[in-house]
């Protein structure tokens, strides 16, 4: 009997399927499991879900306490709401800055577009942390902006800029702007300029042609860009930690604190589970839009 080797196709599929199944999908199940277990002293600091009782009976001990705390403690609820709000506002700000940029690049002479796009992406290739650091240098009490204001005599003492919501938004918008510009550029550059000529020919002034033709046709790019900013920003840890004030208790920061400082792994897991549930819809929507774009 001839031995049948698995086809190349199966191998090509199996490698990523198994890897992602093991290291991406399975961990979520574990997170969900731990979110439901009790905290314990020791390593790892949580009690197993399944345990043998003294009578030798296998029992499942589900601890819904963590989840209950999350939905009843206003600290956590506010952290979630604040995260969603900050991420949404950041998405809108990125859109307001990124759309004109993407539009201008898409309308630039063809031989310049690659360079212009490269210039948008270049900061993204340099260190994220060091770019956040630059904003500390700009906004600190003894930073560049305050020096400038003091030097010009506009203020008599430094204005608090760092550790404020302003710094938080500046940092998020700064770091996530390329993620907005790229998908917008992709849809805008695909837009056939003849459609705008047709609109003008039918009596639409430039502004109306933009509103009735360009804007609706770039909607997939707007949605994709917004999601690429919004979803990661909801769980952002570094920027609120380094630029935001003590009030900027976003959920990523709370989760970090629970995990690293309080060593409450079940609580951190519960926070992650709820965060994931909050993001399932936006992620599904994003994938839907992406799938349509690919077709």
């Amino acid at each position: 009997m001839r031995l049948r080797l698995p086809s190349g196709r199966t191998l090509v599929l199996a490698l990523p399927f198994l890897w992602l199944g093991l290291f991406f999908l399975a961990p979520f199940l574990i997170v969900a499991k731990i979110a439901l277990s009790e905290g314990a002293l020791g390593i790892p600091p949580y009690a197993p879900l399944l345990r043998w009782t003294d009578e030798g009976v296998l029992t499942i001990v589900l601890n819904l306490g963590n989840l209950a705390t999350l939905v009843s403690d206003s600290f956590y609820i506010e952290a979630y709401l604040r995260s969603l709000r900050v991420a949404a506002i950041s998405g809108v700000l990125c859109l307001l800055i990124g759309y004109p940029m993407a539009y201008a690049i898409a309308r630039a002479p063809e031989h310049r577009r690659n360079l212009l796009l490269m210039l948008v992406v270049l900061p993204f290739w340099t260190s994220f942390l060091l770019r956040v650091m630059a904003w500390i240098g700009l906004l600190a009490d003894n930073g560049v902006v305050n020096n400038l204001l003091l030097g010009l005599g506009l203020v008599s003492q430094p204005v608090a800029l760092l550790y404020t919501d302003f710094a938080l938004y500046a940092g998020i918008v700064y770091c996530y702007l390329p993620f907005m510009v790229l998908p917008l550029y992709a849809t805008l550059s695909k837009l056939d300029p003849v459609l705008l000529e047709a609109a003008a020919d039918l009596g639409a002034r430039p502004w109306r042609a933009f509103l009735t033709v360009t804007l609706p046709l770039s909607l997939p790019g707007i949605i994709a860009g917004f999601m690429l900013v919004f979803i990661p920003a909801v769980g952002e840890f570094v920027i609120p930690e380094l630029l935001g004030g003590p009030g900027a208790q976003l959920i990523g920061r709370v989760l970090w604190t629970e995990f690293f400082q309080n060593r409450d792994w079940p609580m951190a897991s519960a926070l992650a589970v709820v965060l994931l549930l909050l993001l399932v819809l936006p992620i599904a929507w994003f994938q839907h839009v992406q799938g349509k774009g690919a077709r």
């Binding site: 599929l13 490698l15 399927f17 690659n114 948008v120 260190s127 240098g137 003894n142 560049v144 989760l255």
Partner: protein, 269 residues
Amino acid sequence: MSRRLGRLGLFLGVGYAFLYIPIALLVVLSFNDSRLITVWSGFSFRWYVALWNNERLIDAALLSLRIAAVAATGATVIGMAAGFALARFGAFRGRGLFGAMVAAPLVMPEVITGLSLLLLFVALAESVGWPAERGVTTVTIAHITFATAYVAVVVQSRLADFDRSLEEAALDLGARPWKVFLLITLPLIAPALASGWLLAFTLSLDDLVIASFTSGPGASTLPMVIFSALRLGLTPELFALATVIIVVVSLGLLVALKLGRVASARVGG
């Protein structure tokens, strides 16, 4: 018409100023002789010397580069397979789940990815005894996992506008499927693989959150060291480090731009 172009130019100018003023600031301050960011006390290379002598930073940088190289290579192999499956295999069983698994890491908040991977490693260590301790290996695995998604997207989109008749021509001329892949498909998607690898490399080099979760004692990556330093305040050595990174990346992108032009001229678009 020219007035509108002018307004668009203004948008671009403001946008680029926003993107580059902070970066320019890092570069300028890296040459400041003073430790304080308030005063300019003269041009100096002293922070570059200090950076060179900062063993903690240099060691962390070398470790990060090593992890990034391995993670990028792993992610490129797995991501290429995933992108290939998505672009070419049509509707197979589990495609929906597969597509979701490939694309989700793109937007997944890092804290979730990091936490879940850590808990996986802990659970594995408990049940099968591997990984015995967390460190370079676990960070590398974590980075491969989330970077795979980026490579897959790049490869998939390259394959989507790939002219299938090139492969059919090779088959028609007598090349077997694996030869077609090696001689036709691979060279043509090589630029996508290269940019996917670079992307994965950069992401790995840049990651703080996932590494913080999945690393163990004794394996501090560059972002972890920078982060702990930043919590204590700004140090000019970090400005020097930033400048070095900016110069390297700019040169790299310039080369890529030139090579890309050559490659696209050779491939004909």
